[in-house]
């Protein structure tokens, strides 16, 4: 247990569970399952924004060992549909220390550096989705929880995102949990894959 990077043990929420698995450094776990089965809720439970029972471990340590902010910077959820609160893109990247990382990220996601001065209103759905990914990645989380990260993207942007994420996982102490409805995509990116239903996880490969 202590050797793995991140683990969930008998995790239950609402009518769902128990779910258990462990994920190691550099690993990508794919999650598939019917719409409405509770995949998003499963991710939300891992970042403690819904009530759950059971245990979560980051390198053998429970969330209570960390402040809620620290936990969510280690285990970061990227939502399928992003919300934006500031007027400009730059309002959502307040941390000046991460400027260099951000510049690289934006380039890798196919943006020009000027995008940060844009008004959020001008962004397309696909641009928002890629920027939401950048928003989480600048914080350099250890475990990235991706809720259909390419649902609004064309094939070209999908490829950019996949390439970026496959490179991101090379960092030490990094793992990805990737929810997708796209079978082909999961086959391309995931080392292991689980089918999620209300009762638990079923190994697909």
């Amino acid at each position: 247990m202590n050797r793995s990077l991140f683990a969930i043990e008998n995790l239950c929420y609402l009518q769902n569970g128990p779910y258990s698995f462990t994920i190691d450094e550099h690993e990508i776990i794919g999650l598939s399952g019917a719409s409405g089965v509770g995949k998003t809720q499963l991710l939300r439970a891992m970042v403690e924004t819904i009530l759950y029972s059971g245990s979560l471990y980051f390198k053998g340590q429970k969330p209570e060992k960390f402040s809620p902010s620290q936990w969510r910077r280690l285990i970061s959820l990227v939502p399928a549909e992003s919300m934006w609160w500031g007027e400009y893109v730059s309002d959502h990247f307040p941390d000046e220390e991460t400027e260099v990382i951000l510049a690289t990220l934006l380039e890798e996601l196919g943006f020009t550096p000027e995008i940060v001065s844009w008004q959020v209103e001008r962004l397309s759905t696909g641009e928002r989705q890629r920027l939401a990914l950048a928003r989480a990645l600048v914080l350099q989380p250890a475990v990235l929880l991706l809720d259909e990260p390419c649902s609004a993207l064309d094939s070209q942007s999908t490829e950019l995102v996949e390439t970026l994420l496959l490179r991101y996982r090379q960092r030490s102490e990094t793992a990805l949990i990737w929810v997708s409805h796209d079978e082909e995509q999961l086959k391309r990116v995931a080392d292991r894959c689980f089918q999620v239903d209300q009762r638990g996880l079923h190994v697909r490969w």
């Binding site: 403690e48 924004t49 969330p63 809620p68 902010s69 969510r72 970061s76 990227v78 919300m83 609160w85």
Partner: protein, 266 residues
């Protein structure tokens, strides 16, 4: 100068205006006539009752009677604050927030001004204590209920946005900052506007009353200034307390937004 006493007939003529308005509204199909008449009747009954109670109080000078009256008014105001919210905190906590913030905004501020500013002997002299508490209650209650209503409604509406800010490791204070700011503004705008318009666009109630009662205009104006400062400060402290107590209770110690603590009222 003497106040000209008003007879029942005088008041009936004024009431007839409201009845006429209700008939007109009904005739034009604009609604509201029933509510208008009911609240008119309610207002008359409530004020007559308080007139009778005040007559007793003024005669007795009993500190306990004044404290009991203040407590009853505060408890009613707390309920009023709660019922004005479309989305409110479940259980007694929601009521408690209203009572605590209205106590801060009216009772403590009134007490402070009686002891430190007006320095009337004894502090509970009904002629000063009752109008001050009443005036502060009525005015600060509006600000507190507007702010709380705005806060709970916005938190409910923008729950996804708040949650996404939490995903990025923000604290609950930061994730709800914009919403709390807006609630503060909503609660404070009426009194800020009232101060800005005082004397220019409107002649506020206290000085109007005192002038009608025969006080020299400058004395009346000084009391009005005092009252407006007290209302502004009281509303501000009350709103700050209400926003803090409400938003604090909507996040648990793991910064989870506890929407289950809110209930929608039709």
């Amino acid at each position: 100068m003497q106040v000209i006493p008003l007879s029942t007939i005088d008041l009936s003529i004024a009431a007839a205006l409201v009845v006429f308005l209700a008939l007109l509204s009904n005739r034009l199909g604009l609604g509201l006539s029933k509510r208008l008449l009911i609240s008119g009747l309610r207002m008359t009954a409530q004020l007559m009752l308080i007139g009778l109670i005040l007559r007793q109080l003024f005669a007795s000078y009993n500190v306990w009677l004044i404290l009991i009256l203040a407590a009853v008014m505060i408890l009613i105001a707390g309920r009023e604050i709660l019922t004005r919210q479309k989305i409110r905190l479940r259980g007694m906590y929601g009521y408690g927030v209203g009572v605590i913030s209205i106590t801060i905004s009216s009772f403590t501020i009134a007490l402070f001004s009686l002891l430190v500013i007006i320095e009337v002997e004894p502090w509970y002299t009904p002629q000063y204590a009752i109008p001050l508490i009443g005036m502060l209650l009525g005015n600060t209650m509006t600000g507190i209920s507007l702010a709380t209503d705005r806060l709970t409604t916005d938190i409910h509406t923008h729950r996804n946005l708040i949650e996404q800010r939490l995903y990025l490791g923000e604290t609950w204070q930061r994730a709800s900052e914009d919403i709390r700011k807006n609630a503060m503004r909503t609660g404070m705008i009426p009194i800020i506007n009232a101060m800005a318009a005082a004397g220019v666009v409107s002649l506020p109630g206290t000085m109007t009353g005192q002038i009608l009662g025969g006080s020299p205009p400058l004395e009346a104006v000084k009391y009005q200034i005092l009252i407006l400062f007290l209302i502004a400060a009281g509303t501000g402290f009350g709103v700050v307390a209400a926003i803090w107590l409400t938003s604090r209770s909507l996040f648990d110690k793991r910064y989870r937004l506890c929407l289950e603590k809110l209930k929608k009222v039709q």
